[in-house]
Symmetry: C2
Subunit: 307 residues, 2 copies
């Protein structure tokens, strides 16, 4: 098994003999396209439930071969990336465990990490090189037909080692995602989930709640269409994401999301206090806005690769 061969950005690029991608949607399909373009695997194998969708992915160049049978996919495999929705990743480790051999590189792309990693550490055999990954590439679109072989370039990829993670798993995942163009960030699973609750899941909830508010009794669809400016369009773009995916993510990360929502709900009371007066407190409104603007400025400082 030639795991570390070649060079990319001063770091060895991994090469796998047989890389299995479980779930070939937008993320899994883009992963296959990216790995194949860079020659990072001898064979890229798509594992899924629908032969038609797997064949579609093969035609689009996301995988070399396909199967619906885990034991066939994993026979001789030295790498597995699970790219299913979080609840399915978490529930799937137990069935996969007997098919995984020692030394194999195993990761997932779930956007909630603590439940997935804890379950993996319970269910997977010792001697695997397992680590949780969260590549923060995405889109409100879904499906392999929107996949791209540069999908992970420039994205942050958060790796979530624990005390039980083999150092080689962290090194290998770092090299793997780095070779695909991602910036590596390392955080424990629980810190990851808290950060993502605030920085990703809460914005999705807020965008949805804002559109719910406007749709309920504020404006007709015709008024929304006629008057919505780019501000509203941008602010609510992620409300167009797939509810089936997001109900799952919200469920998996419910405690942290709830905490972030409660933190958010403290803030409008300060706005209410400044607005709800005989004469609005213009200065206070400006200070509140400026506080948000200062925090927002941090987003404009995209860091260099954190490795």
């Amino acid at each position: 098994m030639d795991i570390l061969g070649g060079q990319a950005g001063g770091m060895a690029t991994p090469h796998f003999t047989r890389l299995v991608i479980h779930g070939v949607g937008l993320l899994g399909g883009s992963l296959g396209m990216s790995v194949r373009r860079r020659g990072m695997a001898g064979r890229v194998v798509g594992l899924g439930r629908s032969p038609e969708r797997l064949e579609h992915a093969r035609r689009l160049g996301a995988i070399d071969e396909l199967t619906t049978r885990p034991e066939a996919a994993l026979d001789g495999a030295d790498a597995l990336v699970v790219a299913l929705p979080p609840a399915q990743i978490r529930a799937g480790w137990r069935a996969l465990a007997p098919l995984l051999r020692p030394g194999m590189f195993v990761t997932d792309v779930g956007s909630v990490k603590a439940p997935i990693v804890a379950q993996a550490e319970r269910d997977l055999p010792k001697g695997l090189l397992f680590i949780g990954s969260h590549p923060m590439a995405g889109s409100e679109k879904t499906g392999v037909e929107h996949g791209r072989d540069d999908f992970y370039e420039g994205a942050a990829c958060i790796l979530t080692p624990t005390a039980r993670t083999h150092p080689d798993a962290l090194a290998l995942a770092t090299a793997f995602w780095h070779a695909l163009g991602a910036r590596i960030v390392v955080a424990p699973p629980d810190r990851h989930d808290r950060l993502l609750a605030g920085l990703s899941h809460l914005p999705h909830l807020v965008a949805a709640a804002l559109m719910q508010t406007l749709g309920r009794d504020w404006a007709s669809p015709a008024e929304l269409a006629a008057i919505a400016g780019n501000g509203l369009r941008d602010t609510t773009r992620i409300a167009a994401a797939d509810p089936a995916i997001w109900k799952d993510i919200f469920t998996q990360n419910a405690p942290h999301l709830l905490a972030s929502l409660d933190a958010l709900l403290d803030v409008p009371q300060e706005w209410r206090a400044a607005l709800d007066r005989p004469e609005p407190d213009t200065q206070a409104l400006g200070l509140l806005y400026a506080e948000g603007r200062r925090a927002r400025a941090a987003l404009d400082h995209r860091p260099a690769d954190a490795e």
Copy 2:
């Protein structure tokens, strides 16, 4: 005075002898560039407080001539567009009134309309062709240096007639903004302000509140920079807008904004109820998300010109 000459999109394009733009920032400057490119005025006159900024606007092609003296600007003028912040527009009518002659076309570009229009109808002389305008073009940038001569193309422009508005004022404003490429929407001032509270001002408040929450105790600036994805960036883009402008808009539209904020604050309680259980209610979370998504879909149906 050759008000209606030429044709654009089947509608006569107005032509003014002397068009005064009071306030030559992003909106006023873009207006000057747009009018000059289309030859819609013999002279475009910039009126403001700072000779340096007016001269800057002249060099950028936004105006033909400039002055800091209202009586000089308005001498012989047949059109006035006030492009100052809402509070200044509202407060400025009284001083302008003695300088305006009957038949003159007068409008403003303020993003809050009821206070501005009500004050104008109190202070301005009879016989003017006055109507409030709100061209919904904008940016988190400010200043004439970001102005463009296609700034209003494709933007909605809301005209806010009242029972006191002369029909010729509505017709002239319709033709004027249409010639600049805007889609015309007509709504009474109070309906405008309610709609804008929900569709524009509330999203700005929400974007600010979301960044306040994340900045206070959720993530360090380094974490924000490292982990923020496009979802958060889009959702909070308008939090980067100028607090000096938005504190003014919020102040002018405080009652409607407060009502929209209270409508919004009802919704998270439904999310809380679905999240805050021993087992989150996944189905309810999906239904809430889907409701927001349905409302969001209206924004993708950009209407044809509403005239």
